[in-house]
Amino acid sequence: MFGKSICFGNPSGISKPIALVFLILAGLAALTGAASAGTAAGSLIAAGENVYVSSASYDPAVFFTGDTGTVTYSVTNGNANQSITVNHASFGDSNIRRTSTTYDATASIGPLQTRDYTFSVIADATDGIYYPKFSLSYFGTQSVWHQAKIQVDNTPLVLLVADKPDSFTLGTKDTISVQIANPRKNDVKNVILKVSGNGLEPMPGTTFIGKLASGDHTTVNFTVTPGSESVMNLELDYNNGDNLHTVTTTLPVVFSTDKKQAEPVISNIAVTSSGGVYHVTGDVTNAGLLTANAVTVTSLSPAVPEDPYRSYIIGALKQDDFGSFEVTFTADDAESVPLQLSYKDKDGNVITSQQKVSLSGGTTTVKGPAAGPDMVPIAALVVILLGAGGAYYYLSRKKQR
């Protein structure tokens, strides 16, 4: 009967007494619900005291002024059997300015659970230590506040030329040593050294170093073959977080004489002409302090090298050592011809020098048939023949007697 009176399909059919009872019951139910709701609110306020910031991290760990990065706060619900509902999270101040939006969507954190809140920030401050605020609101009036230290430090990486040759020489490959140090309080990554310069041939031109820890340093060696005097640019790129930074330095490449280098010197030059072919002989002495390898002498235009000595390889000449050479060439109507002296240093660099040789008098001497034979053998020959003749005469006379 009662069931039949509740009819959602025909409400007008409900009798008045039943409706009255319904209202009374509804009023009691409302009073009961309000009371129970007040009890639950009291227990949640108690739960809010166990919500705390369990960690805060920054990337990069230390900012340059103007660097962008991220700040991540981890919020932990320390209640064992009670969730909390978060409805707002924010971070930042005028020094460490937030560039991303706040967290405004309602979300719950379960019992003993942790949730991360990440904000994009930009460091507008100069060097110093700052304490921007992180705030978390839940249940409308409950909040968590937290301040953590963030440092802004504009100290760059250090780029030093640790070793370089005493002097640069045209076309000579030299090794340069560069030290890279990280004096910052945080690690940097993607460290790349780039070497460049007009007329320079660096090898390698780019060196990837990778991560460089705080307080650490590394050494990079590379070679440079200068084709002309120039300025060597050393550029060090690195990332602080995701921010690219660059340190540059320069190294002047000015040619000068290597005080230790090998120094082959041509001397004792003699020129002989025979049948239109010039024979030039001489000595090469190493007046330097290092060994000259593969010392070679040849003639250059207007001379046309001819066999048998188109070029003459003396070989290695140590300090104070010397070797003789001979080159043959033709040179129509030339007053002088250049002789090219080349050698290799310990790295295989070919160093050349030229010296002109006069073909018509001057400092050269002319040897050959015009120089005339040595008179001593001729005198010996005459003495022998006279002695032999005398002995023969004596023996013949003796035999006849």
């Binding site: 070989g315 050592d321 003789s324 001979e326 005339g372 034979p373 040595d374 020959l381 022998i384 023949l385």
Partner: protein, 222 residues
């Protein structure tokens, strides 16, 4: 019977005619051998001086040492060559039933050295004229310590056009004058060992031909 030097050089048959009727005498032949050795020593001294000059940078005074060795070798070598030639002729002529003593054989071979004196004279004059124009590379210490570099340097020196010319001219002169000596030796051996002209020609011709082949081989393949 004409014992003049001109006859010896041009008509050795007349020079050696009735040689066996005279007592053996090695004085004049030895004089010829000594003279050829002394004249040849001049060429040897000059060529050896070039070799010494190559090594003078490492061993100062090397020129004098090589020169002395060359002179002594040339003189002693002449006498050794004299003995060897006489010995060879003596042995071969024995197969032709030759008679006569070894000293007589030595004597006629010694007389045959007179063209060698002239040949040595020609070679010496040519060498004296040529050597001043030959450039000699001085070997450095580092080259001396490197066998390959040393070998290359000596090979290059021996292939110097002037050196090759001296070697070739000397070989040609040797061949010409050894043939002249052979001409004398044929008649000398014929008389000294009592052989027929044909046997004497074989006795002398075969070793001389082998010697010439050796000379040509040495010059062309050097």
């Amino acid at each position: 019977m004409d014992r003049s030097l001109v006859t010896l050089l041009t008509k050795p048959d007349g020079f050696f005619l009735n040689l066996n009727t005279e007592p053996e005498s090695l004085g004049v032949p030895a004089l010829f051998v000594l003279t050829s050795g002394l004249v040849g020593a001049i060429s040897a001294y000059l060529i050896a001086g070039l070799t010494g000059k190559m090594m003078s940078a490492i061993m100062p005074g090397m020129e004098s040492i090589t020169g002395i060795i060359a002179v002594v070798s040339a003189i002693i070598g002449s006498f050794i060559f004299w003995g060897i030639v006489a010995g060879v002729f003596y042995v071969i002529s024995s197969s032709f039933k030759g008679t006569g003593t070894f000293n007589r054989c030595l004597e006629v071979v010694g007389y045959g050295f007179l063209p060698q004196v002239i040949g040595a004279l020609v070679a010496a004059v040519y060498t004296i004229m040529t050597v001043p124009s030959i450039s000699v590379p001085s070997l450095s210490r580092s080259v001396m310590n490197d066998p390959q570099a040393l070998n290359a340097a000596i090979t290059a020196f021996m292939h110097d056009p002037a050196i090759r010319m001296v070697t070739q001219i000397s070989a040609v002169v040797s061949i010409v004058f050894i043939l002249w000596s052979a001409y004398i030796w044929v008649y000398g051996i014929k008389e000294a060992r009592g052989l027929s002209l044909r046997d004497a020609q074989l006795c002398v011709g075969i070793p001389v031909l082998l010697y010439i082949i050796y000379l040509v081989y040495s010059v062309t393949l050097a």
